[in-house]
């Protein structure tokens, strides 16, 4: 198993336990904030898989978040799908999007890859905004839609503003994390790391580098789509701004602040920023300035991210990879 993947199981168990017990301690409002942190953390994790493990700096992740959100909304709105159907449609749509964009994008690397992913992002945003796709998107402001209930056998529980909805998000995100962890631990993680570390060498060893990059891009799109679907379903609304490339930058910020190549770091990053934003917006009228300042402080004084900082403070030697 990759050294980076060896994460303290104790921390994971403690986090899960805390998340399960949280509703007993905190006000219902903070339950919503926690769920939001988890959903955006999942979006960051999808980016970390791509950038932290495979070394592909993409600014196009918003496309797959948007595709997942609209896929879920469309399935509920037009196809009358239930929760599971909506999730399935969402991840299929997002993954198809990712395969299509990735097919072109993996042909270039480095700065070219970054610019190409931004270009695709802007093009698809403009195409959707131009109004030809109103029958899917419902125009710029998107459309509110009723969230389907959580159906588990004979059970049917409300998804929004409820304890069941919160536990559903916790379970979905924990499941996605476990799936991503297992995928990376399966040996695929090693191939991704080898591409990140030395692309020509991976190629010389006989790996189909473009193929593996496309795989990483598609898996990342799958998880980004899942986060988009969860966001749309729990907040019961979609907006074209989900597709905007500035959404992609959130994932970059949270991942680097939390710790790159750690899978858990992005959750820490999204937690810090969303909880911090939530706190600051009540105190300071222009709280995004504070976020900008916080970001600067971090990159100047703790560029290895929160997890790296914790490791350094704990004086534990860092993994070689």
């Amino acid at each position: 198993m990759s050294p980076r993947l060896r994460q303290a199981p104790l921390v994971l168990v403690a986090t899960l336990a805390a998340l399960f017990l949280a509703p007993a301690v905190v006000l219902p409002y903070y339950r919503i904030v926690l769920a939001e942190i988890l959903v955006w953390g999942l979006f960051g994790m999808a980016f970390d898989l791509l950038f932290g493990y495979t070394g592909m700096l993409s600014f196009g992740q918003a496309l797959f978040f948007g595709a997942g959100a609209y896929g879920a909304a469309y399935a509920v709105f037009k196809l009358g799908a239930g929760l599971w159907g909506a999730l399935a449609v969402a991840v299929v749509v997002a993954t198809v999007f990712a395969v299509a964009v990735g097919f072109f994008a993996v042909r270039v690397s480095g700065h070219y890859f970054l610019v190409l992913t931004i270009t695709f992002s802007v093009v698809i945003f403009l195409v959707l905004e131009s109004g030809h796709w109103r029958w899917i998107t419902g125009g710029y402001s998107g459309r509110p839609f009723p969230a389907p209930p959580i159906t588990l056998g004979p059970l049917s529980l409300p998804l929004t503003n409820s304890l069941a909805g919160y536990y559903f998000v916790v379970a979905a995100v924990a499941g996605a994390y476990a799936l991503c962890y297992l995928l990376l631990a399966s040996g695929l993680g090693w191939v991704f790391l080898s591409i990140r570390e030395n692309e020509p060498r991976a190629r010389l060893l006989g790996y189909n580098v473009e193929g593996y990059k496309l795989l990483a891009f598609s898996i990342s799109g799958f998880f980004a789509g899942l986060s988009g679907a969860l966001y749309a379903l729990t907040s019961q609304y979609t907006n074209l701004s989900f597709f905007h490339w500035t959404i992609s930058t959130n994932a970059v910020v949270w991942t680097v602040i939390g710790g790159t190549g750690t899978l858990l770091g992005p959750f820490l990053g999204s937690g810090l920023f969303i909880a911090g934003g939530d706190f600051l917006s009540a105190q300071v009228p222009n709280f995004p300035i504070a976020i900008g300042v916080l970001l600067l402080v971090f990159v100047l004084f703790a560029p290895e991210g929160l997890l790296g900082l914790l490791r350094r403070l704990a004086r534990r030697p860092t993994a070689p990879v």
């Binding site: 700096l57 072109f104 042909r107 270039v108 700065h111 070219y112 970054l114 610019v115 190409l116 931004i118 270009t119 695709f120 992002s121 802007v122 093009v123 403009l126 195409v127 905004e129 131009s130 490339w245 500035t246 930058t249 970059v252 910020v253 680097v256 790159t260 009228p285 222009n286 995004p288 300035i289 976020i291 900008g292 300042v293 916080l294 970001l295 600067l296 971090f298 990159v299 100047l300 560029p303």
Partner: protein, 287 residues
Amino acid sequence: MTPEAQFILFGLNGLVWGLIIALIALGLSLVFGLIEIINIAHGDLFMLGAVLAWYMIQWTGNFWVALAAAPLAVGLLGMLIERGVLRPIEHKPIITILATFGLSLIFQQSVLATFGGAPQRIEEPIGGLIPLVGTFYPVYRVFVAGCALVALAGLWLLLYKTRYGMWMRAVRQDREMAVALGIASDQVYMLTFGLGAALAALGGVLAAPVTSLEFQMGLDVLPTAFIVVIIGGLGSLQGTLVAAVLLGVLEGLANVFVTPTTARIFSLLFMAVVLLVRPQGIFGKRP
């Protein structure tokens, strides 16, 4: 209006916009070629130029003061950014991207807090129309094109005919050798970043009377500038200029046939195709 006149008008509009984009993209290209920093805040420096110009016109009532002072102020700000924020982290490309993203947030939100969220306009400082193929063209746009060309010529003179330009090109080519020969590379970096910021701000001031000003106006410009820099070939300044003008004119001409958004989509797709079949750009050498 005859179809030919329409063609010429839209083509000219595209050319003027292309030259403004060229100023912004050259700033980005200068910085990238030298420090390999992807400056996410570059679009916001463009925005700051336009917004500062608006304030200066409110205070002095004079566009020409703003045209001179706003780029200077933003240039100084650029030098401060390089010295204070980017220099300590210049060896970590990803970290610098994040730092500039933080700066971008700070700039946008500071403008939102002081300037407000509502779009504002600046009057064209030169009124009047020039008769042209049976119709009329605003004098101010011709002035913008002329001003941009003068700035580009000035940049070329600076880079190729002055000692400072020679230092800049030397540091760009081989930093260690340049330092060994006694060039103060730190100062060169700082001045280059300031120059890049000033160019973006100049683009902002010139564009201000033909567009509307708001705190997020840099967001749309930034991807365009990135694309132009890459298409022109990383580090090739001539390439950046050609790609910017090409993009502007293509988009302008496409406006004759389709809506502006569709024109935008087509020009971006064209750029994406160029990127895929010739990733080193039109003028770049194969890496």
